[in-house]
């Protein structure tokens, strides 16, 4: 994947998490980084009078912050820095990603969660609702993982919904570019109302899972080493908690069926998973646009 990865940066721990994870993905896949700091544009300011002096100060500060972030990127990774003005963080990032044809957008998740876990803030939520590029959520503490650490394995959470093709396609290209193995995962207990007896869920879930996984495996190329696992539990949370993870592993999930085509949206299952995940999660849109990660893209190799 010699494409470009957009890192949404803020001078916070969440921002440092995003830079660290972005660097690791760039090292593993040979991509370049675009560190983007989004400043609010003036159009949204309807109460406070504009102040060019303050705006200049803010811009200088933003450049300083970005320089600090750039210093943390490993020397082997090509990187550029951008200050972008937009209505919101999400809007700025998706606009940059569209312009440069980025393969991924990496953001840190909001503060306040437990170490190593995700908590989704309003900015991440907005991004998940609006991006047509896969979004990588860096859990709190990602900055403590070494950037040169490899991506040993990619776990793909498979469902039966539309979007599985895009999901598998992304998984395959990520696996090829990073040299990772693929693990297909199905969670049981999906989609049955909570009032249904748990024994029934288990049975229904197990049959459902084996079927789904078999079909998914058939879709993946034989070149990619693939294993299959079914996680069982009374709830999504307990199911996820029982799974073992390799250090540096990534999880791919498809976006919700409620999302419009080519837009992301985190479904309730993915949201529940996210709270329990100790590893970075990548949310893939239902259908991919022209920018397919790993595919040869026109920006490739520029500069």
């Amino acid at each position: 994947m010699s494409g470009r990865i957009v890192v949404g940066y803020t001078a916070t721990k969440a921002g440092a998490d995003a830079v660290a994870l972005g660097s690791r993905l760039a090292v593993a896949s040979g991509a370049s980084l675009d560190l983007v700091l989004v400043l609010p544009n003036e159009e949204r300011s309807v109460i406070t009078p504009p102040d060019p002096g303050y705006d200049r100060y803010l811009r200088g500060q933003a450049e300083q912050w970005l320089a600090g972030a750039a210093a943390k990127v490993p020397a082997s990774v090509e990187h550029r820095e951008h200050v972008r003005y937009a209505e919101s963080f999400a809007e700025g990032l998706t606009a940059v990603a569209d312009e440069i044809g980025a393969a991924l957008i990496v953001v840190g998740t909001a503060q306040g969660g437990a170490r190593g876990r995700h908590t989704i803030g309003s900015t991440s939520t907005e991004l998940l609702h609006s991006s047509d590029v896969p979004v990588v959520l860096a859990p709190k503490g990602s900055r403590k993982t070494d950037a040169s650490a490899a991506v040993p394995r990619i776990t793909v959470a498979v469902g039966t919904r539309p979007g599985a093709e895009a999901l598998l396609q992304t998984a395959a290209s990520l696996a090829t570019s990073t040299g990772a193995a693929v693990r297909l995962l199905s969670l049981v207990t999906v989609d049955l109302p909570p009032t249904v007896d748990t024994g029934v869920i288990r049975l229904a879930g197990a049959a459902h899972a084996d079927d789904v996984l078999a079909r998914a495996k058939a879709e993946l190329s034989a070149d990619v080493p693939t294993e299959v696992v079914v996680a069982r539990g009374d709830s999504i949370e307990t199911a996820v908690r029982g799974i073992e993870w390799l250090p540096g592993e990534l999880v791919l999930v498809g976006s919700s069926r409620l999302a419009q085509p080519r837009r992301l949206f985190l479904g309730s299952t993915a949201a529940k998973m996210l709270r329990e995940l100790p590893v970075p999660m990548i949310v893939v849109p239902r259908a991919l646009g022209p920018t397919v990660p790993g595919a040869t893209h026109s920006v490739e190799g520029d500069r």
Binding site: D55, Y57, W65, R84, D302
Partner: protein
């Protein structure tokens, strides 16, 4: 990467001042209407009038309209100087930065201090007014006949709710939460419409003979010489400085407007015409409805002076009085936010240039606001309000009078800074003679005179609300204390952080004449 990196992206490594990043913004986003809306919501006419009308009547009686008209003159003159300085050195430190560049660090520091003190005082007054109207609004909607409205005058409830207001405004400012443009337009239109209805209703009462103390409108109301005493005019003027305070933002919006040649001038004119007409209409309307008597609803009644709309909206508008409460509340609330920006940005600039600890220069990495400076302003405003609520018999009136004095102080310095900073360019053109020399100089002299005279008059224990400590008027003590504390902190900073005071971070300057360079 030529094909994909559009002009909108400015890589920081090689293009700091180019393209979109010139000022870092999508230039030219503010149109004429947008500029007027920002101007009106900064002035907050509903709030300003309810706070300033009473004290002005107590100073000049029926001649309020005259004082409003005259008071606009020094404001306008100084605003011209302000505009020149802003064009030459746009900086978030405004008065602080400009005075430092013109007169050096000591005077610059005090100008910054004056600005911060004035904005912090107005923050506490704004929140105080908002509290009274919140209770009044609840009272009107719940129809409890004043039982709830009176709660606002319990000092403990009052201070507690006021602190909540400040806390809310701090939160909103810290996170830079903005309403949508549409909502802001609606709020401003609503405010103006309610004020118009309010004034018209007052005239209708006068015509129907149902007014409280119908007083026929006389031409002498517009004649400043009819006031009689000079110190009354001075007191009235320093109040009318306050009612136009904030108007200058429309003049200083340059680069941001869609048409920098014409929009700022037109916006400022349109704003000021709207504001002056509203002020005149309402002051004349309320004067002829209630007179200047000292009993009941008379505008001379000390008990109602600090918040006249609060007492007059019911008798004038009857069941629709809640509209006035709503207008004042929304006006104070949005003004609270735009006012918060001002001390925070000045504190930030002072921190940046080393005139205050570096912490003040910190920008919140998530919300891009001067976080630390905002919180400090809020804490100081809250403490100030709480202390004043217990120390003064009429906190609102005394804070407004002190405020007028502080505005005269730092605006006066700013006006002189303009003349002195541009001293080598004054004779470059006839335009410069007027806009850099005459206008700011005359404006500055008027403000300086107002400042000194108010200081002298306020020593009288009967000045303002009549609160005094040891026979000295509270307003005088406040004014002197604010300046003395400023000097003390300044000396302390000069000892601990001498670089700024040696002129190392912000040097004195006077741009050379452009004419000589050409010749």
């Amino acid at each position: 990467m030529s094909g994909h990196e559009g002009a909108a992206l400015a890589p920081t490594t090689d293009q700091v001042e180019g393209g979109l990043s010139k000022k870092g913004l999508s230039a030219g986003t503010v149109g004429l209407i947008g500029a007027v809306v920002i101007g009106i919501s900064c002035i907050a006419p509903a709030y300003t009038l309810t706070a300033a009308l009473g004290p002005t009547v107590s100073a000049v009686g029926f001649q309020v309209p005259a004082i409003i008209l005259v008071g606009f003159i020094p404001m306008l003159l100084v605003a011209f100087g302000y505009r020149e300085l802003n064009r030459s050195m746009p900086d978030s430190g405004t008065s602080f930065t400009w005075a430092s560049r013109a007169f050096g660090p000591w005077i610059g520091w005090m100008a910054g201090w004056g600005l911060i003190a004035a904005t912090i005082i107005v923050l506490s007054n704004l929140a105080g007014i908002a509290v009274e109207f919140l209770f009044l609004l609840i009272d009107q909607v719940a129809n409890t006949q004043g039982a709830i409205a009176d709660l606002a005058f319990d000092p403990f409830i009052n201070v507690a709710v006021c602190l909540l207001f400040v806390l809310g405004a701090t939160f909103v400012s810290y996170r830079d939460m903005q309403t949508t443009q549409k909502l802001q337009y609606i709020l401003v239109s609503f405010q103006v419409a309610v004020l118009l209805i309010f004034a018209i209703a007052a005239f209708v009462h006068v015509a129907n003979g149902s007014a409280f103390d119908a007083s026929p409108v006389e031409l002498s109301w517009f004649n400043p010489f009819a006031v009689g005493s000079l110190s009354a005019v001075v007191a009235g003027l320093s109040l009318s400085i306050f009612i136009f305070w904030g108007w200058d933002v429309t003049l200083t919006m340059n680069e941001e407007t869609k048409n920098p040649e014409k929009t700022p001038g037109r916006a400022a004119t349109l704003t000021v015409l709207t504001i002056v007409s509203l002020y005149l209409l309402i002051s004349v309307g309320l004067l002829s409805f209630a007179g200047t008597g000292t009993k009941d609803l008379g505008l001379g009644n000390e008990d109602i002076q600090s918040n006249v709309f609060f007492y007059l909206s019911g008798p004038i508008l009857g069941p629709f009085a809640f509209l006035v409460s709503l207008a004042v509340l929304t006006s104070s609330a949005s003004s609270l936010q735009s006012t918060f920006v001002s001390p925070a940005r000045t504190l930030l600039a002072m921190g940046h240039y080393g005139a205050l600890p570096e912490r003040f220069a910190k920008v919140s990495p998530r919300f891009f606001t001067p976080g630390f400076a905002t919180i400090v302003s809020a804490v100081v405003a809250s403490v100030f309000y709480a202390v004043m609520r217990f120390a003064s018999e009429d906190v609102l009136q005394d804070t407004i009078l002190t405020l007028g004095m502080m505005i005269c102080f730092y605006y006066g310095i700013t006006a002189f800074a303009c003349v002195w900073y541009f001293r080598r360019q004054l004779w470059d053109s006839a335009r410069n003679v007027f806009f850099m020399l005459l206008f700011p100089l005359v404006g500055g002299i008027i403000l300086l005179y107002l400042f000194v005279q108010t200081l002298i008059d306020s020593m009288d224990p009967g000045y303002g609300s009549g609160s005094n400590i040891g026979g000295l008027g509270l307003v005088f003590i406040l004014g002197i204390a604010i300046i003395a504390i400023g000097i003390a902190i300044m000396i302390w900073q000069a000892v601990t952080r001498p670089a700024f005071f040696r002129g190392e971070t912000l040097s004195k300057d006077a741009p050379a004449s452009l004419r000589r360079r050409v010749a």
